[in-house]
Subunit: 418 residues, 2 copies
């Protein structure tokens, strides 16, 4: 069988699975998720053995320690994946929810009902836990998945998928609800991206290169989880101790995440009182600072901030500090250099808080809180498949609701078009 | 200037316009729409003169009468466009609406706020009224537009755009909110579809060929308004007189629309009582019928229905009639041959009504009402830019809300990520 036929067959299997899954009850879906959780734990020895093959190969290839760590499965990580399934099973089923209902003058009642999207393609890199996490959320929302994991994790992923598929089959909801593209060639992805009409949505999870390739080649709608160049603006009317805590948390608590602060903007009227202590705290925490000329007047040992730095997603203990003239300047700076991900203002001023909320166009805009809170769990969505940086369909943390679409339903009594 | 630079510059002008428009008050937007309505009427003589150029050229090219009719502007049609602007001005502004708001255990309040999408590209064919209608809805929702109309209407479109831009400029909201790609070459569209990051959404309005080209070449999300192969299923428990009225309305009231019925499915137990009168009424209305073997047992003068007919969007007084064994058969038929647009059941049975509503996966599913009611005005959305046949972002009639996206807003008091 050629590569193209192989990929089409996999997608068609998923499509068939999605038609069955669409009609499965909430209770049944939860049972399946819980049995999957059990089965992962039961098979942990086998999973670790398969994972060892990937790790050996990665070591032979000389992959980085960080990558090998992300790839590794152990008892604890398998338990985490299993717990993830249990948590998703406990969430309310979004399918069938009527989000609105209203009556028209002609007597018909119109409503909007949440329904599954259908088949979701997940294209991801080295982390085998994505195989479980993404599948769990998609299944709960009534969607089947076509998985395409990174070649580094191929043995781990195949073992995981085999376990999940067996449970689906045993429970009689068809194994096609989870399909896995087991071909290392890149062309497999290219073929997958052509299957509009079979696959309904593509979610790429990974670095900039992967996302770019997928967006440029896909005929299927893509939901991107792109980079975060996030800002905290410390306004002249900020509570200084609050600003310190928020900025410190936004930068230091977990710098390798997309919602960590990369640039701190400081109003000129507060720079001299706020910056000296703040810089000291950052330095103590090992943060490498790049500062504008005003910042360097306060601490000349700081590196010079260049314009290209302002576009950087460091994902590391590196921070740009820039002093701005006004709220307007801060908003313009964020519009120009930011990535519309997570941005915060610290202020005690009511008008400035609301103006920032309205005018900053990011997936999440915060007043007096850390950008690190832009997260499905923190926002109370129960789970997330990622933080969408797109504007179409879903923006910000994507939970179960965002993995559904709606259809109009009409209860009539003979209404006609006049 | 080369074509590519020209298109990029136009899109950038729109992007700049969108940044201004984003901050414009509802009141101001409505004033602009009302002044546009006035200005179109005031300049009707000039518009008709420009339109005459297009018509002359169309006649020379030997275009069809139907196309030339769609192209034509007269006093009445200009008034209709003007009235459309007034109606859109009267609708509530979706921008700034907080659709949800909730409190988290850590004390922060999280909400979702509707905001403009940004820049919307509209690619359409011969009808100059789309220039006005689409622009009005996009502007009201805070989006600027990059318009690319069909070459047949180029003079009419340029004249309309000039009028709308002048008003925008006079009112101080920047003319870039409406930009028009004035290049006949197809490559202009191809270049436009590459501008992800500048244009946020593409809405193609036109035939299958146009939509296919756009979908295959776009790196920007596309919302399709595709074909409608719509069904009415007359169940064994249908009220026969109600079924007659609904089926007649769905087929005959305006057959050239996407939500008109193309195939009537009839439960075998009711076929003999329902079909004879119904077929007679259709024939009297000039409907050409293609029937399955069971239908032809009732009226042998009817043409033979072939399988390929079942996929057809006739947009004409042609109808397929097929007798089915059961509700399940009807649902399977719709899943296989339908286009997930508008489908209806006529029944008095509660369980069957709900099963049809749940299991038929179309943009609108009706119980005891005509498929022709799948429409933004009929559903009470106030207006529509089309009926989306996509599942992502918007499905079914797209009103102003669907021309916005949401962002998360967070009111904090010092919340940090633990």
């Amino acid at each position: 069988m050629d590569l193209k036929t192989y990929v089409i067959n996999k997608a068609k299997e998923a499509k068939y699975g999605s038609e069955i899954l669409r009609k499965v009850s909430s209770k049944k879906k939860d049972t399946v998720l819980l049995k999957m959780a059990e089965s992962l734990k039961k098979n942990s020895e086998m999973l670790i053995m398969e994972n060892q093959k990937d790790i050996k190969f990665a070591e032979q290839k000389g992959l980085s320690k960080a990558l090998i760590d992300r790839l590794s499965l152990n008892e604890k990580r398998i338990n985490d994946m299993s717990d993830g399934l249990i948590e998703v099973a406990a969430l309310p089923d979004p399918v069938g929810e009527i989000t609105k209902m209203w009556k028209r003058p002609n007597g018909m009642t119109v409503g909007k009902m949440r329904v599954p999207i259908g088949v979701i393609g997940i294209i991801y890199e080295a982390r085998p836990n994505v195989t479980v996490d993404a599948t769990a959320l998609c299944l709960k929302a009534g969607n089947s998945v076509v998985l395409r994991g990174g070649s580094e994790a191929i043995n781990s992923n195949k073992a995981i998928v085999e376990i999940l598929r067996s449970v689906s089959k045993e429970e009689g909801i068809h194994e096609g609800v989870i399909t896995f593209i087991d071909i290392p060639e890149r062309e497999a992805v290219t073929e997958m991206l052509k299957l509009e009409g079979i696959i309904d949505l593509i979610i790429p999870r990974g670095g900039e290169g992967l996302i770019k390739t997928v967006t440029e080649n896909s005929r299927i709608p893509v939901l991107k989880h792109y980079k975060g160049v996030c800002h905290v603006f410390v306004d002249s009317d900020a509570d200084i101790s609050l600003a310190e805590k928020i900025c410190f948390n936004a930068k230091v608590q977990r710098p390798a995440t997309c919602n960590a602060m990369e640039t701190m903007l400081v109003h000129k009227d507060i720079a001299n009182t706020f910056l000296p202590d703040m810089i000291k705290k950052f330095k103590e925490a090992g943060v490498k600072i790049k500062g504008c000329s005003e910042t360097r007047k306060i601490d000349s040992s700081i590196d010079v901030l260049k314009e290209e730095d302002l576009y950087m997603e460091y994902l590391d203990l590196i921070l740009n500090i820039k002093v701005v003239e006004s709220l307007e300047d801060a908003i313009s700076h964020i519009a120009k250099y930011g990535s519309a991900h997570s941005d915060a203002i610290v202020t005690k001023d009511y008008d400035k808080a609301f103006r920032f909320l309205r005018e900053v166009d990011s997936s999440a805009v915060f007043v007096n809180a850390s950008t690190r809170l832009n997260d499905g769990f923190q926002f109370g969505l129960g789970a997330e498949i990622g933080i969408s940086t797109d504007k179409i369909h879903a923006r910000g943390p994507m939970g179960l609701e965002e993995l559904t679409c709606t259809k109009f339903i009409v209860f009539g009594s003979g209404q006609l078009r006049e």
